[in-house]
């Protein structure tokens, strides 16, 4: 349907360049590798399964940490599996949550099978209809710069689809030990409270 030339690694690096104290949750597959490539930190929580759950993890985290920005970075296939969560999040309306979908219109992890997003299904249109405060589609570097400026400051919930190319960058695997990921995340965020 659309051919984008945006490189997913460059997109994520640009979006997270000025992340400050933001908390990041990633959907399984490519987005986890892209966020790891932009710089691993304890405040990244990488999903390696739980498909369809990334956005809702972001909601619970955003409600627990109202003083922090929470950014979920996921893929179009993962978001399609959790479409209902767009309705749930829009109704709950957390002001500090942003969802970014890296949309290559394919299932990259399983052999590049085409996804609905390349066949007319418009995720940002669905988010807008559900009631997100802001829902945008990004296709150019200029639009990406604009999103990067708003990602950590615009009143949420914010939704953005970033159309990216189907190119698959070299795999860069973040840690996948779930208990380690959750412990380092909580310790970095909560300090000694993590162990109470």
């Amino acid at each position: 349907m659309s051919v984008s030339t945006l490189d997913r690694r460059a997109v994520v690096a640009r979006l997270l360049r000025d992340r400050g104290g933001a908390l990041v949750v990633t959907g399984l597959g490519g987005p986890s590798y892209d966020v790891a490539a932009a710089g691993d930190t304890p405040l990244n929580f990488y999903l390696w399964a739980a498909m369809g759950g990334a956005a809702m993890m972001g909601l619970g985290l955003a409600r627990a940490q109202p003083g922090r920005r929470v950014v979920v970075i996921t893929g179009d296939g993962e978001m399609l599996m959790g479409l209902g969560s767009l309705a749930t999040i829009a109704v709950d309306a957390p002001p500090n949550l942003a969802l970014v979908v890296l949309d290559n219109e394919h299932y990259g992890e399983t052999g590049m099978q085409p996804a609905h997003t390349g066949r007319g299904v418009d995720l940002q249109g669905i988010a807008r209809a559900a009631g997100f405060a802001e829902a945008t589609m990004i296709r150019t570097d200029a639009e990406l710069d604009a999103l990067a400026r708003r990602l950590f400051t615009a009143p949420g919930p914010l939704f953005a689809t970033v159309k990216v190319s189907v190119d698959t960058p070299p795999m860069l695997l973040p840690p996948r030990d779930g208990a380690y990921l959750r412990s380092r995340f909580r310790e970095a965020l909560l300090g000694p409270e993590a162990h109470r």
């Binding site: 399964a49 739980a50 619970g60 209902g84 909580r186």
Partner: protein
């Protein structure tokens, strides 16, 4: 029989410092859901499907807040794959399940998942407690909450359909 068991659960949730409540609307939990919505110390979220709540409460705990998932036995089936999150990451979960399809059930379509609820939860690594009487519910929820949040485990309390009363269809 006590008619206040939803109030008993609410008191236990308060005592356990539960802050986030995720639920799919359910007749058995309706009174409890109302009380959670009315409490400014709790944030209650209505879901489109139960596995959303599993993910949401995992995020809540990562952020330092405890939560509870309120669902019916039919919704347990929706949660199974998402519960890998709790198992692999040792993230606590407290789930309170009202049972269908086991005691005087009118709707035969509730029977299969009612039968599969406990074995499904056990298979994915969730500890299962049962409360078969109204009097047993409070202490069962209390023990489940302690186990979940102090031992970092997923725990479900199955509340027997006998306690709730079979749903009446003849209106």
């Amino acid at each position: 029989m006590s008619i206040s068991w939803p109030d008993d659960i609410f008191a236990e949730l308060r005592a356990a410092r539960i802050r986030q409540v995720a639920y799919v609307p359910d007749a058995g939990h309706s009174q409890l859901i109302q009380r959670c919505h009315a409490d400014p110390a709790m944030h209650a979220v209505s879901l489109t499907t139960e596995e959303e709540g599993v993910a949401m409460l995992a995020g809540a705990w990562l952020g330092g807040e405890r939560g509870v998932l309120l669902l019916q036995s039919s919704g347990v089936g929706n949660c199974i794959n998402m519960l890998a999150l709790n198992q692999e990451c040792r993230i606590p979960l407290l789930a309170l399940v009202t049972m269908r399809g086991e005691w005087g059930e009118f709707n035969p379509w509730q029977a299969p998942m009612g039968r599969a609820t406990e074995p499904s939860l056990t298979a994915i690594g969730v500890r299962v407690y049962r409360a078969d009487t109204a009097e047993a519910i409070a202490e069962t929820v209390r023990a489940a909450a302690m186990f979940a949040f102090q031992s970092y485990r997923a725990v479900a309390v199955l509340i027997a359909q006998r306690v709730i009363g079979a749903k009446r269809f003849e209106k």
